[in-house]
Symmetry: C2
Subunit: 200 residues, 2 copies
């Protein structure tokens, strides 16, 4: 089995959502799997000086025009959530917790949370919001709420984010293919081409 490709995303990033709807299919077409890594993008923004796009003059307006247009192109639902950027700590910690024993379930939860937030416009800030989204997947509510408050899980997310930054990750989505970095939902066609030919 060849190594998976690494898909880094932030739940508060709409472009991370857009890419998440395609990354597994892209990997699968080339006999690969995608490992999903939720990160807290704010930690990287402290290094790069970046600001959330939605609060940036000119860029924020562009983004709010671009997002529904990009979503139509990908044929996925998009609805702007009430607060942007959302606090994604609870969702990210829940994924870190599930990854310990069941990476497939962690990915299923990540997908459900991204869909709820960016596809349906739901708030995902509170641990209770994440627990509501997790329940149809068979994830036990009390266990999730306990995990999200667990210092070891909190530390695990922090370490995962630092490890990502250590690999050069500074945005969402960010894909590493055998160490080769691609930033942005608009680079997925380059990811695919790189996978197809092991570079160009």
């Amino acid at each position: 089995m060849v190594a998976p490709i690494d898909f880094y995303f932030e739940f508060a990033s709409p472009y991370g959502y857009l890419a998440s709807t395609r990354i597994d299919a892209i990997a699968a077409r080339h006999g690969r799997e995608a490992s999903w890594h939720p990160i807290m993008l704010g930690a990287a923004f402290k290094l790069t000086g970046a600001q959330p796009l939605v609060h940036t003059p000119l860029k924020g307006d562009y983004m709010m025009r671009d997002l529904p247009r990009f979503a139509r192109l990908l044929e996925v639902p998009f609805k702007a959530p009430p607060v942007m950027p959302v606090n994604s700590l609870a969702a990210s910690r829940a994924c870190i917790w599930l990854q310990q024993d069941d990476p497939k379930m962690a990915k299923a939860l990540a997908r459900a949370v991204l869909h709820a937030h960016w596809g349906e416009g739901q708030d995902i800030a509170r641990a209770e919001d994440v627990a509501d989204i997790a329940r149809p997947l068979g994830i036990e509510r009390a266990a999730l709420l306990a995990a999200v408050a667990d210092p070891a899980i909190k530390a695990g997310l922090k370490q995962a984010t630092e490890a990502a930054i250590g690999r050069g990750v500074f945005g969402s989505p960010f894909v590493l293919v055998d160490g080769e970095a691609f930033w942005g939902a608009d680079r997925l066609h380059q990811v695919e081409r790189w996978l197809a030919a092991a570079g160009w």
Copy 2:
């Protein structure tokens, strides 16, 4: 004749260079022309708080890996110039001057300057550098040097940059297709698709 598409770029922007090598062909495939608009991106950066990528932690390293890779994909030459970002006032003013009487010559000069700077790694900061690049195109050296120092031309570039910002332009490359905005060299395939079907 349908309206041209608008291609905004900054001479100091390597992604503007990459897009410039494709934009005319993309427009032509859909019966359109591309109007080239050099802008001083620093004026937009003052509004958005953006910094030159090359000086940004993590992003700068990514860019220097991405640029030659992207250039190989487009099959165009790339050589990092000695100073980034270069002062592009002289090149931009020379284009503004030529646009008054001969837009085709302005585009030819822009193409030659972008190629010299990003394809060959030459410095283009001094008006003399631009005059050297302009000479094989038949552009008279003394006239160019005078135009670059002309207060009316300086004001023209400032106005052109402000007009671009007024249309929402904040980055390079930036393409407007019938008012629809696309930012980034990695969006050219979306530009092409928009042109092909008048939206999606």
